[in-house]
Amino acid sequence: MAKFKTRLKVKMKDGKVNVKAIMSHPMETGRRKDKKTGEKIPELYINEVVVTANDKMILTADWASSVSKNPYLSVNYAGKSGDKVKISWKDNKGNTGEAEKTVK
């Protein structure tokens, strides 16, 4: 069961497939202090994302912790109805997430 949720949306837009996703992830930079303990909250951030359509790579991303919390990503590609789009990610502690949608 994924620790952090991933939501993916795909739709035809102006003849291309628009892919967008939100990953529910804290993206901790390691610089923030816990208000109660005063300790630094350790780094925890998505560092790799892969988007594929019918198993073919559309986009890969290598991220630093300066990507916003609950990160959003959007990309368009030349695709068509019926394409199976998948997004997978992993973070620096090995947590992973993924989601899959078929283009209507």
């Binding site: 949720k5 939501r7 967008k20 939100i22 529910s24 804290p26 609950n70 959007s74």
Partner: protein, 279 residues
């Protein structure tokens, strides 16, 4: 400088005059309130006030539209839907308590309950439903209660804000309590809700542009980028009070319930627009 007669506000330096005389009817108040904003922001359509600052500030509107491209509250709405559908240990459901399709619920709140002599709010009734059915109540400001409230708000989007105009003595007492709160100065910074959200709406306080109060409650619960999560209306009330260094009241306190009641009356005619995304 008008000082109202009620004893309760004697302690608060009531320096601001509301937009109408203290003895005006709620309907008169609504007219004056909405008229004030119509005059102040001539290019803004009435219906757009549910979008708060984005109705009057194009630069931040553009950023908001980017964020709304994938609304950050969607995940919470899904969680709320799961909650709505899951029966309690005793087999009853939220639907049993609220007694209606989920899409009809948002527009029923808040309302004055004569028997209990109190204002009933959505979050209040969510927890009432839970405790009535042997479940533990949820925290008032965020997390699960906000998710369920978001689902209810989402399903009820677009329904008109048609709250009953306060007319009975008790209704008016609650209404005036909320109205007084709204216009009363408080805190170390000695400011009233109206200072920022009526008289100075559209202006900037350093990094923040002040949203108009008209339509405020329509888009709650709200996903604030700053929180990175969803929060209820009373969560925001407390935050706002802390900002002006006033002691915040408890969520679902009489003060905040009265304020919510007043604010929803002032937003009559707009459409429910929750959940919202803000900075």
């Amino acid at each position: 400088m008008k000082i109202t007669m009620t004893a309760t506000i004697a302690a608060l330096a009531f320096v601001l005059s509301p937009l109408t005389a203290v003895q005006a009817s709620p309907a008169d108040d609504v007219k004056a309130f909405q008229g004030y904003f119509a005059k102040k922001f001539k290019d803004t359509k009435f219906d757009d006030y549910v979008n708060g600052i984005y109705a009057i500030d194009p630069a931040s509107r553009k950023q908001w539209e980017e964020i709304e491209d994938f609304p950050p509250y969607e995940l919470a709405v899904e969680d709320g839907e799961a909650m709505w559908n899951k029966p309690f240990a005793n087999g009853k459901t939220y639907k049993d308590c609220f007694g209606d399709e989920v899409g009809n619920i948002r527009a029923k709140y808040p309302f004055y309950d004569e028997k209990a002599d109190t204002i009933r709010t959505i979050e209040g009734d969510i927890n009432k439903c839970r405790t009535d059915n042997g479940e533990k109540p949820l925290g008032w400001k965020k997390g699960k209660i906000a998710a369920l409230s978001a689902y209810i708000a989402f399903e009820g989007r677009g329904k008109p804000i048609s709250i009953k105009m306060p007319s009975t003595e008790k209704e008016l007492a609650w209404y005036n309590k909320g109205k007084t709160f709204f216009y009363a100065k408080r805190g170390q910074l000695n400011m009233a809700c109206a200072d920022c959200h009526v008289y100075n709406s559209g202006r900037s306080i350093r990094a923040d542009k002040l949203s108009p109060a008209l339509g405020h409650p329509s888009h709650f619960p709200v996903y604030r980028s700053k929180w990175g999560s969803l929060g209820t209306l009373h969560r925001r009330y407390a935050g706002c009070n802390k900002n002006i260094r006033a002691k915040p009241f408890k969520a679902q306190s009489d003060e905040y319930k009265a304020l919510e009641y007043f604010q929803v009356v002032m937003s009559s005619g707009l459409k429910w627009n929750g959940p919202g995304a803000r900075k």
